[in-house]
């Protein structure tokens, strides 16, 4: 079974009258020659690793190798205990879980690259925080994570999910689309709403550059995970309300690919432009590497 586009995915779902995750479980089961149950077990193992990374990250303020980051999640948690977030407890959970995971990543802790290590905080924070908040059971969390994986793999058919190829659009941007689709599943949305959330999320990250200071996955990557996790929630909220993107998901992906191609190499993971070449960015680089 080949599913290369969102349109093909939705057509297959509607012919078979099945949810996205079921179609994907069948596809993965055939591809890897394992049972559908094993596809779900593999996914559960990944989900558990995501939860473990959040829990380790929440408890640590250890700095990274470069000493540029690692203690922001503690600051956020402390502040929320004193003065709650304007947006309520789910916002608190999502932003802290995203930072917890990203900070765990830069201190060489154990995380799940999703789709990349630099964007590892987005999908876990949205799915795990929302599941806790909504009281969603583990089986539906697995449904959501499989759906998120399906979204990433369809985009990956058209472009490598790497900052060097598509800028941060292809990393944190795609992660936010994956998280949005997963959240729609947690909220009980339709297959169409999942795909709408992808269009809405991706349309609003087009042109996002990859310009990390000193070439390290830290500035601005770590904090960006919290921002794009919240971005995913916006996309899911709109989609679940039947707000529709005027541009279909596959065409939005085409626009993302084209934007990635048009983007200067200076802004695609080479650290030759943007934030990396600001006065302070250069000073930080010198401070780390001499």
């Amino acid at each position: 079974m080949k599913i290369n586009t969102f349109e093909e995915l939705l057509t297959k779902c509607s012919i078979d009258k099945k949810k996205i995750h079921v179609i994907i479980e069948e596809k993965e089961s055939a591809q890897h020659e394992i049972s559908r149950e094993d596809v779900r077990l593999k996914t559960k193992k990944i989900l558990d690793a995501m939860k473990q990374a959040i829990s380790s990250g929440l408890g640590s303020a250890e700095l990274s190798l470069s000493r540029q980051s690692g203690d922001d999640c503690q600051k956020l948690q402390q502040r929320f205990t004193v003065r709650p977030s304007l947006f309520g407890s789910l916002f608190e959970k999502i932003t802290t879980y995203a930072l917890a995971t990203s900070e765990e990543n830069i201190r060489m802790g154990r995380i799940v690259a999703c789709p990349t290590a630099g964007s590892c905080g987005i999908v876990p924070s949205v799915l795990v925080a929302s599941s806790e908040f909504l009281g969603v059971d583990e089986q539906r969390q697995i449904d959501a994570l499989i759906t998120a994986g399906a979204i990433g793999s369809i985009v990956a058919n058209k472009t490598a999910l790497a900052g060097a190829v598509g800028g941060c659009q292809a990393e944190c941007g795609v992660a936010s689309a994956m998280a949005a689709g997963g959240l729609v599943v947690l909220l009980g949305g339709s297959n169409e709403q999942v795909v709408q959330s992808v269009s809405l999320a991706l349309k609003n990250i087009l042109g996002l550059t990859c310009d990390p200071v000193a070439g390290l996955v830290e500035i601005p990557c770590v904090k960006r995970n919290s921002f794009l996790a919240v971005h995913a929630v916006t996309a899911a909220e709109l989609a679940i309300s039947c707000v529709e993107s005027k541009i279909p998901a596959d065409e939005v992906v085409d626009a993302l690919v084209q934007t990635g191609q048009l983007m200067s190499p200076l802004l695609k993971e080479t650290s030759q432009g943007g934030l990396a070449k600001t006065k302070r960015g250069i000073e930080i680089e010198k401070g780390i590497f001499g």
Partner: protein
């Protein structure tokens, strides 16, 4: 073309901070160790380009060493590998080089001791890697398949002999790469298999080196 799986996207479970600079480095170390076959007495890592420039900030050096020591990509001991007792069992060093003919994330892993061997590989993104050379021979090794590597004297009929041994076991060949220094001189063969070989490769004259590299679990 390979069909992309959700397990290419929501993976790997790894220690951070970078799939190419950390997880890829660990995998290159692991594959090199498997090719070499045992724990080396001495190893030199030559890091090129981006690996040389930003490797330290990404723990690339730690990852390469950890891989050679046999640690998995999600092993939390990697962060402190330099002070780990495991690292005290071998003599290791790092060199940082620039060569823009090489991949941005390239490394040479040079083993020394009774058996000398140089393994060159690239980290090609998302934690995926490609070993391209063993000594002077071109190979193509990604760790995605059980792979058989042979180095032998170039002579007629070797491919047919090897493939018939594989066929006898009912195993499917996914891909095959051959290289030689010159006609009748040293040659190499790299065969990716859909399942592991159970019978040894035998009956080939002037076979200098034969090793099966296990598929890496993601």
């Amino acid at each position: 073309m390979k069909q992309i799986s959700i397990f290419d996207i929501i993976s790997p479970i790894m220690v951070g901070p970078s799939s190419s600079h950390t997880a890829g480095a660990i995998r290159l170390g692991l594959i090199a160790r498997e090719i070499y076959g045992f724990l080396p007495q001495k190893v030199v890592f030559k890091l090129y380009n981006s690996y040389a420039q930003t490797g330290k900030g990404h723990g690339t050096d730690k990852g390469l060493l950890a891989g050679v020591l046999g640690l998995a990509v999600d092993d939390t001991q990697i962060k402190d590998i330099f002070t780990n007792d495991l690292a005290k069992t071998i003599d290791y060093s790092f060199e940082f080089c620039e060569d823009f003919k090489r991949h941005p994330n390239a490394v040479d892993i040079i083993f020394d001791g009774e058996l000398k061997m140089k393994i060159a590989g690239d980290s090609i993104g998302g934690g995926e890697v490609r070993v391209k050379k063993i000594n002077e021979f071109a190979v193509d090794l990604t760790g995605e398949y059980n792979t058989l590597i042979l180095i032998y004297r170039d002579q007629p009929g070797v491919i047919s002999k090897v493939s018939s041994i594989i066929q006898r076991q009912g195993i499917n060949i996914a891909s095959l790469t051959c290289d030689r220094s010159a006609k009748g001189e040293d040659a190499s063969m790299c065969i990716c298999l859909d399942s592991p070989l159970t019978e040894e490769i035998s009956g080939i004259d002037n076979l200098y080196f034969c090793r099966q590299i296990k598929k890496m679990e993601i």
